[in-house]
Symmetry: C2
Subunit: 418 residues, 2 copies
């Protein structure tokens, strides 16, 4: 049993980009593996509303946590630990759910080209698995970037976590103060941990999803200030009202379990945030978006964020499964590429995360820009033709809809809020 | 003769997007045509260093000038008129030079599909001609956008002129003051006229070119301040040192004719400007870039800008002709698309023109964003392989080269300036 567990932990660790470095220090590996075993016993653990504390499940993560495991262990009650373990789990669950779709597509479509005659097995194409990069930051902390590119179902899928600490430059502090934070106006020590993902499927009938959940701590002379931020939003290429309702309903449920006022507020925030001013259109059909959540208590806020992060898979995977084999042709692909151009415009020009990230010295730009689609297109003066499916999408991007008041008898446009 | 000339002017005007509007007012059209005839007599006119004044050659332009022709005529000596006529001519000459390349490619490649049996002629594909949009701005002025998309030689070519006037918002005045302009700190009336173009060829062996030449006037209580800005720069996908030398040599000649210190200064400015900080690389191999040129006299500065604008065709077209039929495959196309992704990053994130343009209320975003390539690509963690042609390009993008001190005996890298 002990042997098996260690082997399993070894196998997990061999996933990690930094494996070679670890391999050169056998004592460290053994240490990590033994530590791992301590938690495998918990692996049958079921989430419950009573016990929200994350379990250290080394063998389930995409790579070794950024913070040393013994340090996480010593600080189990610290929110920094709680958040790091949450984002590690969310990343792994989401990546595995997507890989499962790739596996299924591979099973359906595998050809003789992928047959290894010598060993009498089908070879899995390397594109169908996430490439895992664990990276450390000189200034403190690091991250784990998981990218699947050129898969059968997903053209580009990036799921990133980062756990960083250091000193906030005065400009960043200034920006926080302008947002209403009562902070000293100087360089301040900070901690930030977050998970963020953008999934660009291949089939234009499957929407792109983005989500991001993060925790922030800043320390000044009066003590530590903390808050949570995040959101999940959907960017379809072709509008399917049923999917839009399912998506919003799932997010609303996650909100309602914590505060009945959240969904309405955070839905509007999302519509306002993902706006491309020069085009007068939203990036997609929204979802939820929030920042600076620090009530009613740290534990309650964490539970809310946990619910949101756990709602990603049920909000999105059913839509992927439903449409991943829908028929499409050149026309739909071209439209998808044009809309991906808009996605690029928003992310490079207006997204705070991208801008803030890229302007940070020594930023790992590959992890920040992995949100960009594999392919995008810009056509001069492209206009969808009248009464086309493309024009139908544009209408809801120009005037956001209250999907949960969506009433079929009112016609297929739902109720506009603009 | 009169009849012929009028017909010719009519034919030119029928090019214009706003033709229908003009057609509804026959008297206006007649007026414009007759005005045109007055200048056809000059069409044999040769440029000379002595007489720099632009001739109003309606029949040669891509559309009717933005400023009414009679107003241009009344203010022939005004720099605003001079500049508008220069950019009209530069736009037309450049568009026609590019169309000629499309024509030649069409002659070489035309197939039976394009044969009109009824009329016994080959049909020119509509993609091989510039689409001309003449647009007016509510606040004053307008522009002419010429775009050729999906051609045989050019994947996307945009050549835009704009002639606008109105009131500068305080933020824009503030930005000019921070650049050293001695201006009152309030809303100020302004005039701006410029030509700008980005050409993305299909063949990855042919570089992308960008140029922009502009004239600016601001009036405050102390009178009118004016200046010129502009530049031309090249973005190859595969480095050809001979082409780089030819390109820089042609621009240097245009500078040297006016001021022997210009090329060195403006070449460095170009390397500094087209920089993508998060990647630590330049967009291309540079060229020249300048702003705030207001010496030694308005006339001399205009002559300098005229020389630069006239140097675009001789700097670029020989390179197009030389490489437009070079062999390439999937690999080279993929690299071109990745580099076009970098082009998008620079233009959306760092280019002052794009940012300034898109943040202007009621900006014509289609004209601003026509600089974006038809297709672009982002791959996670793409690295050119060692000693590849792609890596050779990356070297000069990371460390700009003094092409005109380029010495073959020093090896193929030239002399680095970084």
């Amino acid at each position: 049993m002990w042997y098996k567990v260690i082997t399993r932990s070894l196998k997990t660790l061999s996933y990690v980009g930094s494996y070679k470095k670890i391999r050169d220090r056998p004592h460290r590996l053994f240490y990590a593996a033994v530590l791992g075993t301590g938690y495998v016993a918990y692996s049958q653990y079921k989430k419950s509303k009573v016990e929200m504390k994350e379990i250290i499940q080394l063998h389930n993560y995409m790579a070794e946590p950024i913070t040393p495991v013994d340090q996480l262990e010593r600080n189990r009650d610290d929110m920094k630990t709680q958040m790091e373990l949450l984002i590690m789990r969310i990343q792994a669950e989401f990546c595995k759910a997507l890989e499962k779709e790739e596996d299924a597509a591979w099973e359906d479509e595998k050809t003789a080209d992928e047959y290894d005659f010598e060993n009498d097995v089908f070879l899995m194409s390397p594109e169908a698995k996430f490439k895992v990069d664990r990276w450390m930051r000189k200034e403190g902390g690091g991250g784990i970037s998981c990218v699947l590119q050129d898969g059968r179902v997903f053209e580009k899928a990036g799921v990133n976590i980062s756990v960083v600490s250091g000193t906030l430059p005065p400009a960043a502090v200034q920006q926080m103060r302008s947002r209403g934070k009562n902070l000293q106006n100087s360089e301040l020590p900070f901690f930030a941990a977050g998970v963020s993902a953008v999934i660009h499927p291949r089939n234009p009938m499957v929407p792109t999803i983005h989500f991001n959940y993060r925790y922030f701590e800043v320390r000044d002379k009066d003590g530590v200030q903390w808050w949570f931020g995040g959101g999940t939003d959907l960017t379809p290429y072709y509008l399917n009202e049923e999917d839009a309702v399912h998506f919003h309903q799932t997010l609303k449920q996650a909100c309602d379990d914590h505060d009945k006022t959240y969904y309405e507020k955070f839905k509007k925030w999302c519509d306002d945030y993902f706006y491309i001013p020069h085009r007068g259109e939203r990036r997609g059909i929204g979802g939820i978006f929030f920042d600076d959540v620090d009530t009613p208590s740290q534990d309650a806020a964490f539970k809310f964020v946990t619910s949101c992060a756990e709602a990603v898979i049920p909000s999105y995977l059913p839509i992927v499964k439903k449409h991943k084999e829908d028929a499409y042709g050149y026309h739909e692909r071209q439209w998808q590429l044009l809309r991906r151009g808009r996605y690029v415009e928003f992310n490079l020009m207006y997204d705070r995360g991208t801008k803030f990230g890229l302007h940070t010295p020594q930023a790992r730009y590959e992890s920040i820009l992995m949100s960009l689609p594999l392919n995008a297109k810009w056509e001069y003066m492209h206009e969808p033709s009248q009464n086309s499916a493309e024009e139908k999408l544009m209408k809801v991007l120009k005037e956001p809809v209250e999907w949960l008041n969506f009433n079929k008898s009112e016609g297929r446009e739902g109720r506009s809020t603009a």
